[in-house]
Symmetry: C2
Subunit: 235 residues, 2 copies
């Protein structure tokens, strides 16, 4: 009997923001895989470290993070082969995914390689824009707002056009693009309405005015939320 591949959304950072379903599957897992940097700790693993069974076999999928280069095919090929071995031997494999597996998640690279040959179940998770809105105390989108999720690596002109066309915007993957994005928002005269959060719901969470962000150390998991009318719920 072949095992099942589970893509488990572990949520944005607070270990309590995992779903009951993902927790149940994780606690029963015999093999747990997760993305990890070339050296050091996996963020996804660190979020749920207390839930991983002590006797589970762990597979760290190590790769250059915070890179604009898109995933290295060989690394995913190798990980998929490794995971497939466990599935063929009848063992379920739980893959840990920061936030939600299918919201800009690297899980899709395993999914694309394995979904035709194996049973795959994706357990959705709480995503970072919703986590940021919660900790900011500011609704993300209301009524018939158009909400646009904009990756910061896009060209500034493109980002500007998207912001101008949207009621509500979440600029994601800010990281080292922060100085350019701040300049753009200043130029658009919307900086006073923009809200910056890094590591939402984690112990290291910080909420800052744009002007107070140290642009030399902006983490990859940082986000800027913006509403065209300032406060979504007051119209």
């Amino acid at each position: 009997m072949t095992g099942t591949l589970y893509g488990l959304g572990v949520g944005p950072g607070d270990p309590e923001l995992i779903t009951v379903k993902a927790l149940r599957l994780l606690e029963a897992a015999t093999v747990v895989a997760y993305p990890a940097p070339e050296a050091g700790e996996s963020l996804a693993r660190s979020i749920v470290a207390d839930y991983i069974p002590g006797d589970a076999e762990e597979i760290a999928i190590r790769m250059p993070l915070h890179s604009d280069r898109f995933p290295l095919d060989e690394i995913y090929d190798t990980a998929a082969e490794d995971i497939a071995g466990h599935l063929r031997a009848g063992r379920d494999v739980a893959v840990l995914c920061e936030g939600d597996p299918f919201f800009y998640g690297s899980f899709m690279y395993l999914f694309g390689r394995m979904a035709e040959d194996f049973r795959v179940e994706v357990v959705p998770g709480v995503s970072s824009p919703m986590a940021c809105a919660a900790v900011l105390g500011a609704p993300l989108a209301a009524k018939n707002d158009v909400l646009t999720v904009i990756p910061a690596p896009l060209p500034s002109d493109d980002i500007r056009r998207r912001l101008e066309a949207s009621d509500a915007s979440a600029i994601i993957k800010v990281g080292r693009h922060f100085p350019r994005i701040r300049d753009l928002l200043d130029d658009m005269q919307v900086s006073d309405r923009a809200r910056y959060v890094e590591h939402a719901t984690m112990a290291s969470q910080r909420i800052l005015p744009l002007s107070a962000v140290d642009s030399d150390s902006t983490p990859y998991f940082s986000m800027i939320l913006l509403h065209a009318r300032g406060e979504a719920w007051r119209q």
Copy 2:
């Protein structure tokens, strides 16, 4: 000691998709409030019915649902006053929110009325676009995709422009707008790439080709996902 108002995301429908945190707060709640139709059962309540303490006081905030009219001020004024009475008496109040409280949620109308006077904590939840992507087995957005969330009540020309400008789109609140949206997608020749889901992760979940949807009975909680390049993760 004044109580705390909790906005609890209960997730998209499967009771196991509530977070551990929202479940903990709900199981400890002495007062539980939720949106409900004028007559009949509250969807948010039905999702977590098994978790509500038997001795909790319940406040159903009843109003016309599936209406394009935006919320009736008097109803929220009354509910806020009612909830404020409990908070002033030192009782915490948990408000149940389908999906996530700040993602197009009606919780923001209570939040706007109460956040200045009371301690409010928002617990984010799994949102419907992520739930739909999970059950469809199709990533929502990848890499540097721009993802646009588009409410179906918007004019067709506006929706068309948004779809044309986006890599990935989630058309929400489809309901009675379905025939118009289907015509638009047919006209844009993208219907074969569009994926329709209603009641994602609930027992009543249905996934259908657009051509098979009975447009007389499309529920409010239905969604169409579309990716400009067909499959987000294959490029």
